[in-house]
């Protein structure tokens, strides 16, 4: 939270964009911050693992030494802490990367996986899958299908309604309609769910959190993470061009239909996989791309990796708060909302000139 405010305040909008020369140092700093957050997160927790012990275990494992450390530490590290940290990093990067991408292809700085309805759609899909006892891969696929359906619905409805109107506003409002529609569907599922086992499971999962991260979930996140991230990285220059709108992008030589489809599919895959693994963690996909844009400028060549790095760092730190501040864990989704809501107000305040 402290970080968020400081970075936002230090770069007042006007001179936000960095020259190309300063982009590499900025990326290095972001990478170092992520590394620091990673190391901090490993040591923190109910069962503290000092940095020196962590290094011992890691090098010991690599070199195949016989363990000189307690068995419990190793178990905590490999079965609990690392899976959670890896999941958190991937979820943070995935939500921020997909948020940045949505903002570019919908040429709208106010959209995010939440606002487009992707999160609500994926959340409904996942709740449906949990209710029907699907396997975790089944949850992931169902989440993706409904996430995709929600984005498509938002996109087509806003195109239909928004001809010649304020496109930024119409897309946001349509997204909210779709979002509340799918939330209502999710409520139906909760209503139907068995209050003794399924209802608590779904409710707790909807609040969002990484507490149930296991090795299996790391794998479950890793596969869609790689499949979704690669196209975003490969096409990140094209996202710049798409942000100028359909006709200009075509005139500049981009096959808009195909490129946009690939990007929407990839971003939605990242969003829905995150939701299948960690539940509803809102706001990250909106605030992190904005913060990244304030620091490295709007060029997606740098903005996309910067968003991913900052998203991973942000979620790790917020998750550290979630699991260490109180004796019982605070659901992560609640924390990101508490941090995200005021930040969004700040964005509204800063961007009010573009909201005519």
């Amino acid at each position: 939270m402290q970080r968020t405010l400081k970075a936002g305040g230090a770069a007042p909008g006007k001179k936000a964009a960095l020259s190309r020369k300063r982009a590499i140092p900025a990326m290095t700093v972001l990478l170092l911050l992520l590394t620091a957050a990673f190391l901090l997160s490993v040591t923190l927790g109910r069962y503290g693992i000092p940095l020196r012990q962590l290094m011992q275990i890691l090098f010991g494992k690599l070199l195949g030494q016989t363990p000189t450390w307690p068995d419990t530490v190793e178990k905590v590290l490999f079965n609990v802490r690392l899976p959670r940290i890896l999941c958190g990093m991937m979820v943070g990067a995935a939500l921020s990367g997909s948020g940045a991408t949505y903002q570019g292809i919908f040429k709208n700085p106010m959209v995010s996986p939440d606002i487009l309805g992707a999160s609500a759609g994926a959340g409904f899909g996942a709740a449906l899958a949990i209710l029907n006892n699907f396997s975790i891969w089944g949850i992931e696929v169902t989440a993706f299908l409904f996430g995709m359906a929600a984005v498509a619905l938002t996109y087509f409805l806003s195109n239909f309604i928004g001809r010649n109107l304020n496109a930024v506003l119409v897309l946001v409002l349509t997204g909210m309609v779709v979002q509340s529609l799918f939330s209502a569907f999710t409520s139906v599922i909760k209503y139907e769910a068995d209050p003794n086992n399924k209802l608590p499971e779904i409710t707790f999962w909807l609040m969002g959190g990484l507490s149930s991260s296991t090795k299996k979930q790391v794998l479950m996140m890793l596969v869609p993470f790689i499949i979704g991230m690669i196209p975003l990285f490969l096409c990140r220059w094209q996202i710049n061009i798409l942000s100028f709108g359909e006709e200009e992008a075509k005139a500049l030589g981009v096959d808009t239909g195909k490129t946009r489809a690939v990007l929407i599919l990839s971003a939605t895959l990242l969003t829905s996989a995150s939701i299948a693994v960690s539940g509803m963690i809102g706001w990250v996909g909106l605030i992190i791309p904005h913060l990244a844009r304030l620091i490295v400028g709007p060029n997606y060549k740098i903005l996309l990796p910067a968003s991913a790095l900052m998203g991973a760092t942000f979620l790790l730190l917020v998750d550290d708060i979630a699991r260490t501040v109180l004796i019982t864990e605070i659901p992560l989704g609640i924390l990101t909302a508490i941090i995200g809501a005021p930040f969004f107000l700040y964005l509204l305040y800063r961007g009010r000139s573009t909201w005519e």
């Binding site: 040429k107 990140r236 061009i241 942000s243 006709e247 075509k250 005139a251 030589g253 709007p298 060029n299």
Partner: protein
């Protein structure tokens, strides 16, 4: 380079807006499209640029039909300078200009050092290098128009299509943009532009196409823009005057009669 439009029929879905349009533009020529609002200038433009499908006839570049061209090949030959717009993100001017290289990049690449040099040259040739690191959304309308021209030049096309390049500009900037357009044609670029001002056609067009509800006339500016034709097409009374501008040259201009 030669663009040939042969008996083109243009329109949206099932609605035909223009038909029987034929003209050609070669290197170093400036064709200026004039006509009242709603007559189909934009439709014709979008058809030439391939945003709208031809409903009949053909559009060719050097004899090659454009129908089968990929967007990339299109963009390598034909550059587009859109009307003023506001992109959602505060890109630097240099980033915007570098985006002109997209058509020359491999599918997953970003501009290389050589590409960025081409972008820098485009800024230089228009005399707007000082704008390089400014934020595109924060510069003036005239400056933005120049940046869009620079971006199109970075594309290194042989034909430039400009949609009302002088709209929304103050008087001085309008003339500065026209001067640049004339210079580009002098360097060998073929240019198709639209305008609302017959005077601008007198100033820089080598040929004029006058679109009206019942026809399409094309030819030399002196022959096409007459008091008679302007009254017919725009429904207003205009006197055309000729003024010596020094060096034994004359410029024509329209003087509207409002009574």
């Amino acid at each position: 380079m030669k663009l040939d439009v042969c008996s083109a029929v243009c329109g949206y879905r099932d609605k035909v807006i223009l038909k029987d349009i034929s003209f050609s533009v070669s290197s170093s020529e400036i064709l200026c499209l004039l006509g009242p609002n709603g007559v189909g200038k934009t439709t014709l433009f979008k058809t030439i640029l391939g945003f709208l499908k031809l409903k009949g006839g053909s559009v060719r570049v050097d004899g090659e039909d454009l129908a089968g061209w990929s967007r990339k090949k299109y963009a390598q030959r034909i550059g587009y300078v859109p009307q003023m717009h506001t992109p959602p993100f505060p890109f630097t001017v240099f980033d915007v200009v570098a985006m002109g290289r997209t058509a020359h990049l491999d599918a997953f690449a970003s501009p290389s050092r050589a590409d960025l040099e081409i972008a820098a040259d485009a800024l230089d040739s228009l005399g707007i290098t000082p704008l390089k690191d400014r934020i595109y959304t924060e510069i003036s309308g005239g400056e933005r128009q120049m940046v869009l021209i620079a971006r199109a030049l970075t594309q290194q096309p042989q034909l430039l299509v400009m949609d009302e390049p002088t709209s929304n500009l103050d008087f001085g900037n309008q003339l500065r943009v026209l001067k640049q357009i004339r210079k580009l044609a002098g360097d060998g670029m073929g240019i198709v532009m639209t305008s609302h001002f017959p005077d601008h056609a007198f100033l820089c067009a080598s040929r004029v196409a006058l679109l009206s509800r019942d026809g399409f006339a094309i030819g030399e500016p002196d022959r096409i823009i007459t008091e008679e034709s302007l009254r017919q097409v725009y429904g207003v009374d205009v006197k055309i005057t000729t003024t010596p501008v020094g060096g034994g040259r004359y410029e024509k201009a329209c003087v509207p009669i409002l009574s």
